[in-house]
């Protein structure tokens, strides 16, 4: 069991934000230089990704030790990626980040494609976060974006097919490796994923792909969805009492349904609730307040810090 002297470069997955965001599983070999992976529900063992989308936010954060950290969000048709660029990044990457931050500040939209490493971390309380660390990135045009979308969709479809095929088989590497429907690069990841995530629902990924393909095909009107409820401003001046409470109950319903859907026995972590509620148009701040409210009401409880369950 001798490790090879230098690990080969890990291949990059074309992946939509929804698949990466849903991942909570991490794997790393025991060796010092072994690569680490985030394993998605569809069985991709992700060390590196090619992602693209609209740069939605990019801000500089001062960290405790005085280093600079840029944090940003990249939105594709399925959701957002969170990424960060620190002092460790290459000069070119940092320079691009500065340029992009300026563009964002003046309200100049940019489509960005990045090759990024997957990051996974768990807080002391047990909440799991994933994010990206771009290695190289560039500003792209709509055409390149559309091409990226088709590749990401094709990749997701291939993984969904392999995932569906895996349901028919014993969740072992042997059984998967022997199957023609499961590509070799998904065998390990699928075994791990099946054992960790249990049942998963492909419906959301299918919707993401359909919408993403609409965009790539230029059918913008079919890719357009109804206006989401957007709670950007905390105080809604115009809203009357009735509307306020209805919004509140929307959020309440939304938060409860997220927890119900995502709970696999251990509850749902704080970040997952917030990012999912955010994807449905509720601000993180409101969602956080709602979690507190629901906890106080005794509708949900927190078996572990940062993990929420519905009181049965």
């Amino acid at each position: 069991m001798q490790a090879s002297p230098r690990a080969k470069r890990q291949p990059a997955w074309h992946m939509l934000a929804s698949e990466f965001r849903d991942a909570t599983l991490h794997e790393k070999g025991s060796g010092e230089f072994d690569p680490s992976f985030v394993i998605t529900k569809l069985g991709a063992k992700v060390n590196r990704v090619v992602v693209a989308g609209l740069l939605e936010r990019l801000e500089v954060r001062e960290t405790a030790n005085g280093s600079t950290l840029y944090q940003g969000q990249l939105r594709d048709p399925s959701g957002q990626h969170y990424f960060s660029v620190g002092d460790y990044a290459s000069e070119a990457m940092r320079e691009l980040t500065t340029t992009l931050t300026e563009r964002i500040e003046v309200g100049e939209p940019e489509l960005v494609l990045m090759i990024a490493k997957a990051r996974w971390y768990q807080t002391e309380e047990g909440a799991i976060y994933t994010s990206l660390r771009p290695e190289e990135a560039c500003i792209i045009d709509g055409k390149t974006y559309a091409n990226w979308i088709t590749r990401a969709c094709q990749g997701t479809i291939d993984r969904m097919d392999a995932f569906s095929a895996s349901l028919e088989l014993e969740p072992t590497e042997q059984a998967y490796a022997a199957s023609d429907s499961i590509p070799a690069n998904l065998v390990e990841g699928l075994v791990t994923s099946r054992n960790h995530y249990g049942e998963i629902d492909l419906e959301q990924y299918k919707l993401n792909i359909m919408q993403a393909l609409d965009i790539a095909e230029g059918k913008m009107s079919s890719a357009t969805t109804p206006v989401p409820t957007l709670n950007v401003s905390p105080a809604d001046e115009e809203g009357d009492v009735a509307e306020d409470s209805s919004e509140g109950s929307d959020l309440e319903e939304c938060a409860l349904s997220i927890i119900r859907q995502l709970d696999q026995g251990d509850g749902v972590d704080f970040e997952a609730v917030l990012s999912n509620a955010n994807a449905r148009g509720f601000s993180r701040q409101d969602s956080e307040a709602m979690l507190d409210e629901l906890s106080e009401k005794g509708v949900i409880h927190e078996p572990r810090f940062g993990w929420f369950k519905i009181v049965e």
Binding site: R9, T224, F305
Partner: protein, 563 residues
């Protein structure tokens, strides 16, 4: 076109930004949609932000409440463990088990230590080994047993993780120690042999000849026997340091042979402790059947291969003379090809080949392979190894010398070095030393800060190349494009390139390249060099592949069959 389609969104935006007029907002939505392919539900937030950028509220969660009691952490793989995990439950196989006396707090105690392996029920699969220490040696731990450990903890020392089996831990035996170690006396298929270690093999002798190894220090030579063995799974060369008298065709069993890998080719070594005996098996494949396996195509050739048979087309053949130790010598060398690719061939004797009447097809027998810069070079030691064929096995008139073979990147990355190949993959990196480089005037290696690793400070010679990484989702490979290929890809002359870099700077130039290339499909042709650190393609041409996303999306949708 935009008439009315964004109305509901404009209302929503105006609710957040009452001062913005609907024209401006509509124009924004249209811009996102047309230029960036971002539908309104996705661009809305950015538009609100840019109109009203003062209201960013950072969300934080500072409260830190209950600390939950640690429950048992049940894991399947060692890789799921963190350095401070306690009360772990895991099923493992015990690989080795040793006892030793240790003084702990002034007290002599016996402890056990060894290696364990996770994922014990998987036949092969991914297994990880960790060291363990058993502080109160359990009688249940024995090499080869599969056990469930309960209440063990992780110990991290100098970044290395191991498991502690504590006084309070429980060891449940799930399978007694009956590990089927590939024991001495258990023959393995030749194709499945490891690249090093001691093995047992049953095979037929395909070739055998006496040879000598001359010691480098001139202190003499050692008599050895070289040859080749085969079973139905494959063939392997052998080298016997002891007298070896079995004839070609003999079926033998070799126990305790050592596999050594020289260059890229594994070889069996028979030494003093190796047992070689005749073996009887009427059903074992005969010599004729087995020797068909030694016929290789050019794409199969590996550095260090011996006893290779092949049918190839010679496309170029020329005599080279050189002087060694004051004596003029000569050697023939040229290009050969078959449908799987191209490579070189050299011969130390005159062959009955008319270099003015090429291509011709020849059958090679028992030749060996060396590689230079990763490219296989077949060495013909004597004319008897070459037979000129009247008729080639391929269609008449095919000239392989200019062919380029399309090979998937992941196949190139895991195979041998090859010439005359092309592939298509996504650009995932543009290295910052793309552009002008200085090469050593002696060896053409790239200079670092004006220095060559072997020839020291150097004036250098200017050259142009691009260094990318391409990736097909399964494997990745470096892509080095030479001067002509780079300039053609950039659609620039050398002067234009030089003035662009001089006026905008190297970093800006590389970032421009990234904008053009990252995430795009590139098709490159040239040759590859593959070693244990990965593969690279040395390309003399490369082009970005134009793609029609709309058509591809429609195609994907049709194939997917979900509407």
């Amino acid at each position: 076109m935009s008439d009315g389609q964004f109305d509901s969104y404009i209302v929503a935006v105006q609710k957040e930004c009452p001062d913005a007029d609907s024209e401006t907002i509509a124009a924004q939505f249209l811009k996102y949609q047309e230029d960036f392919k971002i539908p309104p539900q996705d661009s809305m937030r950015s538009i609100i932000r840019s109109l009203n950028s003062t209201k960013a509220v950072p969300s934080s969660r500072a409260s830190s409440s209950s600390s939950t009691p640690r429950a048992t952490k049940k894991v399947e793989l060692l890789s799921e463990l963190k350095s401070d995990d306690k009360e772990i439950e895991i099923e493992v196989e015990i690989i080795s088990h040793n006892l030793r006396e240790q003084t702990i707090r002034g007290e002599q105690k016996q402890i056990a230590f060894g290696l364990l392996e996770d994922n014990p029920w998987a036949e092969n699969g991914n297994k990880n080994r960790w060291e363990y220490k058993d502080w109160a040696p359990s009688p249940n731990l024995a090499p080869g047993s599969i056990v469930r450990l309960e209440g063990v903890s992780v110990n991290e020392y100098n970044g290395k993780m191991s498991l502690n089996i504590n006084q309070s831990s429980r060891v449940v035996v799930l399978r007694e120690g009956t590990r089927t170690v590939v024991a001495p006396g258990e023959p393995q298929d030749i194709a499945a042999l490891p690249s090093d270690g001691y093995v047992c093999v049953v095979g037929r002798v395909l070739s055998s000849r006496e040879d000598q190894i001359h010691k480098k220090d001139g202190s003499g030579s050692i008599d050895i026997v070289r040859g080749r063995l085969a079973d139905e799974s494959g063939t392997i060369g052998f080298l016997s340091w002891e007298p070896f008298s079995h004839e070609v065709g003999a079926l033998i069993k070799i126990d305790g042979a050592q596999v050594r890998t020289f260059r890229d080719t594994p070889e069996l070594n028979f030494g003093r402790t190796t047992k070689v005996e005749l073996f009887h098996d009427k059903n074992f494949a005969d010599t004729d059947t087995l020797s068909k396996q030694t016929v290789l195509t050019i794409s199969d050739l590996r550095d260090g291969s011996r006893d290779v048979d092949a049918v190839v087309q010679i496309t170029e053949w020329a005599k080279r003379t050189f002087t060694k130790d004051g004596v003029e010598k000569y050697l023939w060398s040229g290009q050969i090809a078959d449908p799987s690719g191209r490579c070189r061939m050299s011969a130390w004797e005159d062959l009955p080949i008319d270099e003015n009447n090429l291509p011709i097809t020849v059958k090679l027998k028992g030749v060996r392979v060396r590689a230079w810069q990763g490219i296989p070079d077949i060495t013909v030691d004597n004319a008897g190894q070459v037979e000129i064929l009247e008729k080639s096995p391929w269609e008449d008139g095919i000239d392989f010398s200019t062919q380029t073979i399309e090979v998937p990147l992941n196949e190139l990355a895991s195979g041998a070095s090859r010439v005359g190949v092309s592939t298509e993959a996504i650009v995932v990196s543009v290295r910052e030393d793309s552009g002008f480089i200085q090469r050593c005037t002696e060896c053409r290696r790239v200079l670092r800060d004006g220095h060559c690793a072997t020839h020291d400070a150097n004036a250098g010679q200017s050259d142009i190349r691009m260094r990318l990484v391409m990736d097909d989702g399964l494997a990745s490979m470096s892509l080095l494009i030479n001067k002509e290929g780079s300039l053609a890809l950039l659609a620039m002359t050398e002067d234009e390139l030089s003035s662009e870099i001089n006026s905008n700077g190297q970093l800006d130039f590389v970032q421009t390249l990234r904008s053009k290339m990252l995430g795009r499909n590139i098709r490159a042709s040239g040759r590859t060099i593959v070693d244990e650190q990965g593969g690279m393609m040395l390309a003399d041409s490369a082009e970005l592949v134009e793609e029609d996303a709309e058509m591809k999306a429609t195609e994907i949708r049709a194939q997917w069959g979900v509407n």
